[in-house]
Symmetry: C2
Subunit: 100 residues, 2 copies
DNA sequence: TTGATCTATCGGGATATAAAGATATAATAA
DNA sequence: TTATTATATCTTTATATCCCGATAGATCAA
């Protein structure tokens, strides 16, 4: 739990949106062949299309969120799936409530 | 409540420290003549001395935290006192818990 | 009024972040 | 093997943030 790293990761409109979209992935992204987006996450290209930014930028954003611990990664074949790390988000809420 | 503005304000080690020091001001700052630091806040020069940064930098940091709604200001004569806005911090905790 | 003190603001150089295109890597398909 | 697809990394330009010194306001003391 590195609060500074987390707050930096949250200091960007698009990254906040990505976290929000991933709350209800089936509502914001098209169906995937690879597997249930609730379980394995959403692949980078779907997130990129939704964000309307370049592939490299979105890839960087996802890594930023992952390094902060807010997203989990699952790799299968040539795909990379990202989903929320609800555990970490709960820890963050607890930190803000008790320590900030 | 502007989450992006708040997260940007929290994306700095010194600003996080200032928020922490102001949780127990009498523990971290010398006594003030102007009034009880719990009630009116701590003056800029005390915070500056503790932070070990220039006066202009600390003044900017305090404004950043205030614009985000995390600090409250009280002006008396030539002094400016800052204290935590516990209400806003509670709102932030609730936001993270329910909306992030 | 003059001088001292406290704080805010301005301007600037250094560093970090934003966001893109180009390229590399790795897996799949033909 | 070669071509294609998905993602990551590299490089670069533009913008934002960090942090300072200098200066400006505002208040208080003499």
């Amino acid at each position: 739990m590195d609060p500074l790293l987390i707050f930096k990761a949250l200091s960007n409109e698009t990254r906040l949106q990505i976290l929000d979209w991933l709350k209800e992935p089936e509502k914001h992204f098209p169906p995937q062949e690879g597997g249930d987006c609730r379980k394995i996450g959403v692949c980078v290209s779907h997130i990129q299309e939704k964000a309307g930014l370049s592939q490299s930028t979105v890839s960087q954003y996802l890594l930023t969120l992952q390094r902060a611990g807010l997203l989990e990664v699952y790799r299968y074949g040539q795909w990379t799936y990202y989903k929320r790390n609800e555990q970490k988000l709960k820890e963050l809420a607890a930190f803000i409530q008790h320590d900030l």
